[in-house]
């Protein structure tokens, strides 16, 4: 479970200050698949950065289960991101000098898992998203869709409590976009909590809950029957 209370984020100071999140409160429960939608500048990515501990709110609080995250040091936040959170970036964000399997194995190794077991887990994660035959390829040798699937495998290989995805299909064609969405749905079916930002209605409709942001605040929060 993750909960945001009176979350406010302001960039800049004085006359140049821009408040992107305006005292937003929400709670995401375990096992939910939440789509966050809204126009550009609504504060979707900013909200995701606060929830995923990549950024610090100007005021308000983010609770991860029972942890008050504002009390964590940067080092502790890094450790929380490693063990409890997974992140899929819009531009895949794979490390270019690491092969597909090395990208996936990296956070697992960081958790102290022995090499053999870490590689076995990474292999399984890649095979689960039909990337078993591309394990040794560098990101530059993969298509955008393949890279994003590797990024998903990396994000979930260490079994995070919550998977955050920032417009994961934005740079993909419709076919690869659908493959990525299928991967998310599979993961959700296995009980993975997912928080995804998207611009695309089709993908938002596959989530169980859709939160709409506008001007830094929630304008609607709808639990829906996903259209599969």
């Amino acid at each position: 479970m993750i909960r945001a209370e009176q979350l406010m984020k302001t960039y800049g100071t004085g006359d140049l200050a821009v408040t992107v999140l305006k005292g937003l409160t929400l709670e995401i429960r375990d096992g939910e698949f939440v789509a966050i939608i809204g126009p550009s500048g609504a504060g979707k990515s900013t909200l995701l950065y606060q929830l995923s501990l990549l950024d610090e709110p100007t005021s308000g609080e983010v609770y991860l289960d029972t942890i008050k995250t504002s009390s964590l040091t940067q080092k502790e936040k890094t450790a929380v991101r490693l063990t409890k959170l997974g992140y899929v970036f819009q531009d895949y964000a794979l490390l270019p000098e690491l092969s597909a399997i090395d990208n996936v194995v990296l956070p697992i190794l960081m958790q102290g898992v022995p090499y053999t077991e870490a590689f076995a887990r990474a292999t399984r994660a890649l095979e689960r998203i039909q990337m078993g035959d591309k394990m040794l390829n560098l990101p530059s040798e993969l298509s955008g869709g393949q890279q994003q699937r590797v990024a998903i495998a990396r994000a979930v290989a260490h079994h995070p409590h919550i998977l955050f995805a920032d417009e994961p299909t934005a740079n993909l064609d419709s076919m690869n976009g659908r493959l990525v969405m299928d991967a998310f749905l599979d993961l959700h079916a296995q009980g993975q909590t997912i928080v995804m930002i998207t611009h695309e209605e089709e993908y938002a409709s596959k989530a169980h809950r859709v939160i709409t942001l506008k001007d830094g605040d929630i304008v609607s929060d709808i639990v829906q029957k996903p259209r599969l």
């Binding site: 950065y49 990549l54 950024d55 080092k75 890094t78 450790a79 929380v80 991101r81 490693l82 063990t83 959170l85 997974g86 992140y87 970036f89 964000a93 490390l95 270019p96 000098e97 690491l98 092969s99 090395d102 990296l106 956070p107 190794l109 960081m110 958790q111 102290g112 560098l138 990396r154 994000a155 260490h158």
Partner: protein
């Protein structure tokens, strides 16, 4: 206890992930870039070792030549104020039977004057064609074993045991061959109109009075060691006959032994002889002090140049790692974003820097000891007073490798630290 174990575990994980990242980054980085960085490290290492090594080598070359051409590892000479080495025979017997000594060359040496023009009286205001020098009586066989004496023969022929009345003269005593012939140094007399085959008159100046004998110049000897080029050499048995008194006492004994064991052997000889009987020195102790001063100065100069090289090397490594880190700022942010500890990322950059440093140093060591040192040993630098060699010892090179690696470590650590401490999100978004 628990905290310590947790810290140790975290450190070991960071090291492991840092190492993993290093290996992968090196494996997949451009071969050209890696090669260039290693090449720079090799140059930095060579700059540290070779530049100072050559500077010191110019002097060390002269020390080596002094040892090989004249003194051996130990040189025994008459004590101060004495004309000869006391109990020369007993000492020679001791040296010849010592297991650590491979060769001994006892020498009679006497101050002499050589007259180049025998018949003509000098004209008015003309200096007499004569020079003062030490004449040395040598045992050809012993001297050949100890110094390879025949290699100094520049012109003419060497002495022979079955011939008498011949002399070899150092090139620096004859105007035609001297390196100082073209300068007019007041008081410096050189033999004029004298060459191989010329007859010269040698006057021995000893306590027993002066003895004159004519010799024919059989050869000219030349070396960068003054003790060779400014002396005259005749057969020892011939010189011995001319000496009026103390014929059995020598003035010099050069001893060949292992360089490292020379100081201990000197002590043994002193115990055998008593220090007042002779001046017993290792070749290093017998080196003139001004050369020692030059060596020290060159050493300081070499270290100064090495220090500059070290600064240049550290800045180079810093720039290389900094550029490497800054171009990967986004990926460093991503790594932090997915939970890789900053320390593990830092380790990866430090390991990379060490990889470049160690590889460069190892290749540098191979080049130094496998190529440059043998090359300069075989082809010394032709310096006016020495044949310059490359002085590079394993211990000295080891110290420089250690210094270079410490500098590398710091130069790798700092830029990584600078980049890693930036805000994670800013790094990811390129802000």
């Amino acid at each position: 206890m628990k905290t310590t174990l947790r810290i140790q575990k975290q450190l070991s994980q960071d090291l492991r992930v840092g190492w993993f990242l290093t290996i992968r980054q090196i494996q997949h980085s451009g071969k050209g870039t890696t090669g260039l960085i290693i090449f720079i490290m090799i140059l930095a290492f060579l700059n540290l070792v070779v530049v100072s090594g050559l500077l010191i080598g110019l002097i060390a070359g002269s020390f080596q030549q002094f040892r090989e051409s004249y003194s051996g590892e130990i040189i025994i000479t008459s004590a101060s104020g004495h004309n000869y080495i006391e109990n020369s025979s007993a000492l020679l017997h001791f040296l010849e039977n010592h297991p650590d000594i491979t060769a001994v060359s006892p020498r009679h040496t006497i101050t002499a004057q050589v007259l180049g023009t025998l018949n003509d009286n000098p004209k008015k205001n003309e200096r007499v064609n004569q020079v003062g020098a030490r004449i040395v009586g040598i045992d050809l066989e012993r001297e050949e074993i100890l110094t390879g004496f025949s290699r100094f023969l520049q012109y003419g022929k060497n002495l022979r045991e079955d011939e008498e009345g011949y002399i070899l003269i150092g090139a620096n005593l004859i105007k035609k061959y001297s390196a100082f012939a073209d300068v007019n140094i007041p008081g410096l007399d050189l033999l004029r109109d004298v060459d191989i085959g010329s007859r010269v008159r040698v006057t021995l100046l000893s306590d027993g009075g002066s003895i004159k004998k004519d010799f024919i110049i059989k050869g000219i000897i030349k070396s960068k060691v003054d003790e060779i080029s400014t002396r005259m050499f005749v057969l020892d048995k011939e010189l011995k006959r001319l000496i009026p008194v103390n014929k059995e006492q020598f003035q010099e004994m050069a001893v060949r032994t292992d360089y490292a064991s020379a100081p201990a052997l000197v002590q043994q000889i002193k115990e055998f002889m008593g220090s007042s009987e002779a001046l017993i020195q290792t070749s290093d102790e017998a080196i003139p002090s001004f050369l020692r001063d030059v060596e020290t100065t060159f050493g300081i100069l070499g270290n100064a140049l090495s220090s500059i090289a070290l600064v240049v090397a550290s800045i180079t490594i810093f720039i290389v790692i900094f550029i490497n880190a800054i171009t990967k700022r986004k990926f460093i942010g991503i790594m932090k974003g997915i939970g890789i500890s900053p320390r593990a990322i830092q380790f990866s950059y430090i390991f990379q820097a060490l990889f470049y440093g160690i590889t460069g140093s190892l290749i540098g060591l191979l080049v130094t000891f496998g190529l440059l040192r043998p090359y300069f040993a075989a082809h010394p630098i032709d310096f006016p007073f020495s044949d310059g060699i490359l002085v590079a010892t394993p211990s000295g090179a080891g110290i420089r490798v250690a210094v270079l690696l410490i500098v590398t470590l710091i130069a790798g650590y700092l830029p990584a630290k600078l980049i890693i401490r930036q805000n994670t999100l800013d790094s990811i978004l390129g802000r």
